[in-house]
């Protein structure tokens, strides 16, 4: 396969919401190209008409009874927030 380009890695970085330094970008480009190269042989497997496997327990649309229960205490849940204002999580502005 074609080696990934710097722009490819930049695009993945945007999709993944992970900021990398220039050096990390280049290392990522080299490693991903190497790893994906090893996966090329997968295309030789004949999968015509083969269904996908998402998981292996063959359980689908599992339902439970809709019974009320006491949720976790709000304060316990919010205690880990890096930044908050009373009972709200505080975030940076959404729009510039």
């Amino acid at each position: 396969m074609e080696p990934l380009t710097h722009r490819d890695v930049e695009h993945i970085s945007e999709l993944a919401y992970v900021k990398l330094s220039d050096q990390e970008m280049e290392e990522m480009r080299v490693h991903l190209t190497d790893i994906l190269g090893h996966f090329a042989s997968l295309s030789t497997v004949d999968t015509d008409g083969v269904e996908v496997t998402g998981h292996t327990t063959d359980a689908y649309s599992v339902m439970r009874k809709d019974e009320p229960f006491t949720p976790m205490d709000q304060e316990d849940v919010l205690r880990n927030a890096p930044d908050r204002d009373g009972e709200f999580l505080r975030v940076r502005p959404v729009f510039e």
């Binding site: 993944a16 900021k19 790893i35 997968l42 999968t47 996908v52 292996t56 327990t57 439970r64």
Partner: protein, 493 residues
């Protein structure tokens, strides 16, 4: 007679042996727990198996366990009073849970995961949280943000991963049992490297609720122990349907150890030749061949077979697991918990920076790999293709199990390697998981048991069963254990 619990040999007892001493009133759980905590504080500067040690909680649990053992109210379990460790990707109420990542440093969960709750209800004494590869992504425990774990057999070597702390702790006599998670070999490979027993049960048999998610269709919790019987006892306690994990199922059997004493005479055991890859170390190969002779002496039929799709398993796994990981790890946004938002102009930038600073190299690599495989234009060629080949791998195993009761392979192509040896070559590191990965892809049960030594380092034997064939796997492992000496050797530490 009072047990000499200052003797380090005592800390290499099995949990069953320890429980018998409790029942005979030779020793109390509080005494053992205190001794265990002393031993941990002596060994930790060398091993680094723990991320967090919880002495006060442990002593309190031990006191309750002693009352329960004395009163039989409620009835004690196989784990009552037994010091255990849980890997630090198990959510523990009030105790920091990091998954060995900087992004979760300081995170104190407001709830116990299901297995943790079950262990507490069973009276187990949780003494702390085990070190691991960051988010369980690694085969050497070197990607931990809390530093590497050292293998107690040779402290210059890795313990394997990702349940490296759990395996090292059991091998070194720091705890009697540890609970880990296995997405592509993370219980079995470190168990092999450390000379202990490690089992990944059939996918779904143990609830994943409260296990920090990595690859949800592959992740499974299991025990690391010093005997096969302890492994069966542990699984009897932690398994079961949990409505908080909709992929969990009830076992179609009552007791993981129901066939443990039945022997293996007449059983058909397959040896898939693709697992004896070219890169396999000669010491591992010769230990494996000796194991096959042992099985024959015990009356089993050893038959070579072929599972040709094994060659594609690594690619399937390293597409599916990172894809699931990239989705699962999207929750770490620096808003709700963990590493905080920095002083950026927008919320999006804050998330990008928190994730850039909080995740380590291997985790980033897998997020990128997964994001790429799921992105527009590549989904069909990578993710969908991998899921289709997953179906074919499952079918290949299913037809093998029409002929065989179980399959055996080496657990890993090598023994424990040196710290630093492979960390800069990601694909070479991934190759380590070549024997364990196919099992997760197909959701099968599999155990690693100590099966020899090569240059004074432990070798592991993997026994794979059909879906829900956990009792068969345990039966074969137990008979092998009875006929060999490897589980009796311990590191001189």
């Amino acid at each position: 007679m009072k047990t000499q619990f200052t003797n380090s040999e005592f800390y290499f007892s099995t949990a069953r042996e320890l429980r018998a001493k409790f029942d005979a009133r030779e020793i109390s759980s509080v005494e053992v727990t205190k001794g265990t905590l002393d031993r941990i504080s002596k060994l930790e500067p060398t091993l680094n198996s723990f991320i967090t040690i919880t002495p006060e909680i442990a002593i309190k649990s031990a006191e309750l366990a002693d009352q329960r053992l004395a009163s039989s109210d409620p009835e004690p379990t196989a784990l009552t009073g037994v010091p255990v460790m849980v890997k630090d990707n198990f959510s523990t109420e009030g105790v920091e849970t990091t998954a060995a990542s900087n992004i979760l440093k300081g995170y104190i969960p407001p709830y116990d995961g299901s297995v943790v709750k079950t262990l507490k209800d069973a009276g187990a004494v949780i003494v702390g949280k085990g070190n691991l590869d960051e988010f369980a992504m690694g085969s050497s425990n070197e990607t931990s943000a809390f530093g590497p774990v050292h293998n107690p057999w040779d402290i210059e070597r890795v313990p394997g991963g990702s349940s490296g702390g759990a395996s090292a702790a059991v091998a070194a006599g720091e705890v009697f049992i540890a609970f880990g998670s296995d997405t592509g070999g993370s219980i079995r490979q470190p168990a092999a490297f450390c000379g202990v027993v490690g089992m990944k049960p059939t996918y779904g048999l143990v609830s994943r609720f409260g296990l920090i998610a990595f690859g949800s269709s592959l992740d499974q919790i299991g025990p690391i122990t010093r005997s096969v019987a302890d492994c069966a006892d542990s699984l009897n306690i932690v398994s079961g349907r949990d409505q908080r994990d909709s992929t969990s199922v009830s076992a179609p059997f009552d007791d993981f150890g129901r066939d443990i004493d039945k022997g293996i005479s007449g059983m058909n055991i397959g040896v898939p030749k693709e697992y004896l890859v070219d890169g396999i170390e000669s010491g591992v190969r010769s230990a494996f061949e000796t194991s096959l002779s042992t099985f024959e002496q015990l009356g089993a039929n050893i038959i070579e077979t072929s599972l040709p799709l094994t060659d594609h398993a690594l690619a399937v796994y390293y597409i599916i697991a990172p894809s699931e990981a990239s989705a699962n790890l999207s929750r770490y946004d620096g808003v709700k918990y963990g590493l905080g938002a920095l002083d950026t102009s927008t919320s999006a930038q804050a998330t990008q920076e928190a994730r850039g600073a909080g995740f380590g190299d291997e985790v980033k690599r897998r997020i990128f790999l997964g994001t790429y495989a799921l992105s527009a234009g590549y989904y069909d060629a990578y993710y969908k293709k991998a899921q289709q080949v997953r179906t074919l791998i499952r079918r290949e195993f299913s037809s093998a199990f029409e002929q065989f009761d179980a399959l055996v392979t080496p657990t890993s192509p090598s023994t424990a390697f040196k710290i630093g040896e492979k960390i800069n070559d990601p694909f070479r590191m991934y190759m380590n998981d070549i024997c364990t990965i196919p099992v997760n892809i197909a959701g099968l049960p599999s155990i690693s048991v100590p099966s020899g030594e090569s240059d004074q380092l432990p070798v592991g034997l993997q026994i794979i069963g059909p879906q829900f064939g956990d009792p068969v796997v345990i039966r074969i492992a137990a008979e092998y254990e009875r006929s060999t000496i490897w589980h009796k050797s311990h590191p001189l530490i």
